[in-house]
């Protein structure tokens, strides 16, 4: 089957070409860069909201992009169960658009931080983690100034198994030192109740090729592979 994925480009998204490259050239599926005003959901099986500084992060990261017509289109996909992935700025946009619970605030250190971290997989039943195992520890980089996850519904998130990734050390232990930005409960990524929408602060598109990974791993690719598997299974 021919799978079509859209990578939405907002004004000043800057990781859009990276996500496009991984989908097109590493996974070899048909992905298109779509300008936010031109996005139509009916043409696509899945959508990626990439990292960057959409609309300059003015007022608040993600808030202006959340009002884009692209988000209205994506809301249709959210409701009919198609996969929606928000990476970094994309995660911020999804929380402001209320596709996902919680909010992303400025890093506790008040500094931008770019480094490789470890994430523990907490839920492998989402559209993006079916190729992973619960308790897997993966290598993946972060690069953000506003990644501190906050929610006033922590209990519900835990009860509903909506926490998908947590920051941990190399061995998978959830520690203060392994939390790069002060996120509540070391939360790095969450999903909606249905599990078809995932937002995460780290960048899987930067961890999909061994040549650019410090340890030569490609754990990020598994997130995209999972999305493709999910789409294929849905269409059956």
């Amino acid at each position: 089957m021919s799978i079509k994925i859209a990578v939405i480009e907002f004004p000043a998204s800057n990781c859009d070409l990276d996500a496009l490259h991984v989908l097109n050239n590493v996974l070899n599926i048909e992905a298109s860069l779509v300008w936010h005003n031109h996005f139509k959901e009916k043409d696509y099986d899945g959508v990626v909201l990439p990292g960057g500084f959409a609309f300059g992060d003015y007022l608040r990261a993600g808030i202006i992009a959340a009002h884009s017509p692209a988000i209205d289109e994506a809301r249709i996909m959210l409701k009919d169960g198609r996969p929606i992935l928000g990476i970094c700025n994309g995660f911020q946009i999804l929380t402001e658009a209320q596709f996902l619970p919680g909010a992303l605030l400025r890093n506790e250190s008040l500094k931008f931080v770019c480094k490789w971290v470890n994430l523990k997989v907490e839920n492998n039943k989402t559209a993006f983690t079916n190729r992973l195992n619960v308790a897997d520890v993966i290598d993946i980089p972060i690069a953000h100034g506003e990644g501190r996850y906050f929610t006033d519904q922590l209990k519900e998130l835990i009860d509903n198994d909506q926490i998908v990734f947590r920051y941990t050390d190399e061995k998978g232990f959830i520690t203060n030192d392994s939390n790069p930005n002060g996120s509540m409960d070391n939360i790095a990524g969450v999903c909606n109740l249905e599990g078809n929408c995932l937002g995460l602060m780290p960048h899987p598109e930067r961890a999909s090729e061994a040549i650019i990974s410090p340890k030569g791993s490609t754990h990020g690719k598994l997130i995209f592979d999972s999305m493709i598997d999910f789409i294929k299974r849905r269409s059956k």
Binding site: E96, A103, R106, L110, D152, G182
Partner: protein, 86 residues
């Protein structure tokens, strides 16, 4: 009538305010201003709006801030500081 509405958005207590905390702890307290007990940071908006009267101006501003999420109700509070004729 043209009104001027001043609005401040602050982080809720639970969401913490590292900017305010840092100003107090790393700048003021270290430089002898230890009589300062607390600093809150926030965003300030000054909105010029055409409205019938003061109450109307306030209403419209509150409505638009809520509807368009000019403040994030999960993490922030919205306070109208002042309304006056522009």
């Amino acid at each position: 009538m043209l009104w001027e509405v001043e609005v401040v958005l602050e982080n809720k207590k639970a969401a913490r305010d590292p900017v305010g905390e840092t100003i107090k702890r790393d700048l003021l307290a270290k430089k002898g201003y230890d009589m300062v007990s607390n600093v809150r940071s926030g965003q300030y908006l000054r909105i010029n709006i055409e409205a019938k009267n003061e109450a109307n101006a306030k209403d419209i501003v509150e409505k638009m801030c809520n509807e368009l999420r000019i403040f994030n109700p999960v993490t922030q509070t919205l306070t109208i500081l002042n309304v006056k004729i522009s």
